[in-house]
């Protein structure tokens, strides 16, 4: 994404070493190796779900790597009068920290932010992935699901990191339980309503708690007091992940660093969803950078991409289940052992 300052000769050097019979990368990885991915969920206590993800942190010195923080926040929207949609809606936003792109001007940063937001929004907010439990009261109230991602540091492969972080945050999201409530005006007050309409005498004997307006089958909801924070999003197994293939025909490489990204401008982003017990779905595809590609080559890239995405998906899935366990069962056990 961000073009790091790489000289022509360095670019050439990186390309040549990648195109040799036994390809070489600066950090010793093979072409299809990912850097270490670190993930923690539940990092923002005020959000309904959150995750922090790092790709490529230097083991002992503790610095470096692409760092993304994603959080999901739910908001109640009115479908009738507000801009809510029946069944709820999903909105994504990506903020890039100026410290991640310190060489960019603020205008360029805005453009980059917008670009990443569009990629995330178009893929994640698609109808096919929409969770079914965002409705509070059908036709009246619905949840607005906001996903906010912050890119704190970028050392390459930011799109994959964004999708993984978003998936983890969505996985972690708990939708508060709601119970619909209906206000019914007593029969007597309905009678007085008729009367007041006729006589225009508003102050006539109703109680202090005036429900005349609500009497037209008004419905609201309440949040029952319950021991957990709510239920998980339906279909959370389906949230997509992205693999970015950096294309240098005839080879491609995964998880490119900044310098590699700068030397290989052509990229193919593939977003896959792996619903349980059904074949994988290609949710989105995006080619960025200059150049042209053979159709047969793109097809082979998609087949390969699916394989990589599957591996990445299962690794992420097992980590997310482990995090679930850590945050729920283990935390509860620890708490009960303290008491």
């Amino acid at each position: 994404m961000a073009v790091a300052l790489v000289s022509k000769s360095e670019r050439d050097y990186i390309k040549t070493s990648l195109q040799t019979a036994s390809p070489l990368r600066a950090d010793g990885r093979s072409l299809l190796d990912f850097r270490t991915v670190l993930l923690e969920t539940g990092v923002a206590p005020l959000a309904n779900g959150s995750a922090r993800l790092n790709i490529g942190k230097v083991a002992r010195e503790g610095g470096g790597g692409t760092d993304v923080l994603a959080a999901v926040k739910l908001e109640v929207e009115d479908v009738e009068s507000g801009d809510g949609v029946d069944g709820g809606r999903v909105a994504c936003s990506v903020t890039c920290s100026p410290s991640a792109y310190s060489h960019l001007s603020s205008n360029a940063l805005d453009e980059l932010q917008h670009d990443l937001t569009v990629i995330l929004q178009q893929t994640i907010a698609h109808r096919s992935l929409h969770p079914s439990n965002l409705t509070i009261i059908p036709g009246r109230k619905a949840w607005l699901l906001n996903i906010d991602a912050v890119v704190l540091a970028d050392s390459g492969n930011v799109v994959d990191a964004l999708f993984m972080a978003a998936r983890a945050a969505l996985w972690d999201t708990k939708v508060p339980r709601t119970r619909p409530v209906e206000y019914r005006a007593p029969e007597s007050s309905r009678a007085t309503e008729k009367e007041t309409q006729d006589s225009m005498d508003v102050d006539q004997g109703t109680s202090g708690f005036d429900t005349r307006d609500m009497a037209r089958d008004a419905a609201d909801f309440e949040l029952p007091d319950y021991w957990d924070e709510g239920e998980v999003l339906h279909g959370r197994e389906r949230w997509p992940i992205c693999v970015t293939l950096n294309l240098l025909p005839p080879i491609h490489l995964l998880d490119a660093t900044l310098t590699e990204e700068a030397s290989i401008p052509l990229r193919l982003h593939l977003m896959f969803s792996f619903p349980p017990s059904t074949p994988p779905i290609l949710q989105a595809i995006r080619l960025s950078g200059p150049g042209e590609l053979d159709l047969a080559y793109v097809k082979s890239c998609i087949t390969d991409g699916e394989k990589y995405a599957r591996e990445l998906f299962s690794a992420l899935e097992s980590k997310l289940r482990e995090e679930d366990l850590r945050r729920n069962t283990k935390a509860r056990d620890r708490f009960s052992s303290l008491r």
Partner: protein
């Protein structure tokens, strides 16, 4: 609002169980973040800020440089999920610009900018969570980030908020308390005992000011101790790492990381 929450109960405890002058937990993480020259993540109670420092370096815009000293450029971003109610603030939000300007003016007399003419020091403040005392957390984290970046400072800057509930002063307010009681933020330089920032947006009786101000200055010293420990720990770790590197390299071909691990 004020009728529902008891700021200070009869037993002398506040809504989160603290005593009047008790500060919240401070956790300081000085590990490197990304490509920044210096960074600090400070968690103060439930308020969490991350500050990264770049520089002194050549300014992106040459026209903004000064011929005799460095320019402090503070940019602040508030995560939309940092508050109870989601709110996306743009970079040009007035409130954010004001805070950034306050941080810049707090540090202008402390950073030895005259050593770096025609250059720029970029300070990026990220607010990840907020629960009161936001400005002090930002200032403290900025001090630590500048220290880790090796920018010459005259002294630490330690900030704290103080408020007055009827006649009893309180230190280190949460959002709940900030909404309710008159409060001010004080930033002190603990060694030279100078004050670089006093700001107040609410009204406070003039007779209460002196007591609160002195109390806040004293609390600044306590926070200074905490910050000093964090910086010292990191420096010791760095010095040990340097030792290990030179000795381990001379002796034999040990992996440097292994040697480092033994020494710490």
């Amino acid at each position: 609002m004020s009728s529902r929450i008891e700021i200070l109960n009869d037993g002398g405890y506040r809504s989160d169980g603290r005593k009047q002058y008790e500060l919240r937990d401070i956790t300081i993480d000085l590990t490197q973040q990304g490509t920044a020259d210096g960074s600090a993540q400070l968690t103060h109670g439930l308020t969490q800020v991350l500050v990264t420092v770049f520089g002194p370096r050549e300014a992106k815009m040459r026209s903004q440089t000064l011929h005799d000293r460095a320019v402090l450029n503070v940019e602040m971003s508030v995560a939309p999920f940092s508050t109870g109610e989601r709110r996306k603030r743009s970079r040009a939000d007035r409130r954010i610009l004001e805070m950034a300007a306050m941080i810049a003016s707090t540090f202008e007399p402390v950073v030895q900018t005259n050593l770096y003419p025609r250059s720029q020091i970029d300070i990026y403040v990220h607010v990840l969570q907020q629960d009161g005392s936001l400005l002090p957390a930002c200032i403290n984290a900025t001090t630590l980030a500048l220290v880790t970046a090796g920018v010459p400072l005259l002294d630490f800057v330690c900030a704290v908020t103080g408020g007055v509930h009827s006649t009893s002063p309180l230190l280190d307010l949460t959002t709940l308390e900030e909404n309710d009681v008159p409060h001010m933020t004080v930033a002190v330089m603990p060694r030279t005992r100078k004050v670089t920032l006093v700001t107040m947006e609410t009204r406070l009786h003039v007779e209460r000011f002196r007591e609160l101000f002195e109390l806040a200055c004293e609390a600044g010293q306590t926070i200074h101790r905490e910050m000093k420990y964090a910086v010292k720990d990191r420096t010791v770790a760095l010095v040990n790492a340097m030792d290990a590197g030179s000795k381990g390299g001379a002796a034999d071909d040990h992996d440097r990381d292994v040697v480092m691990d033994d020494r710490i």
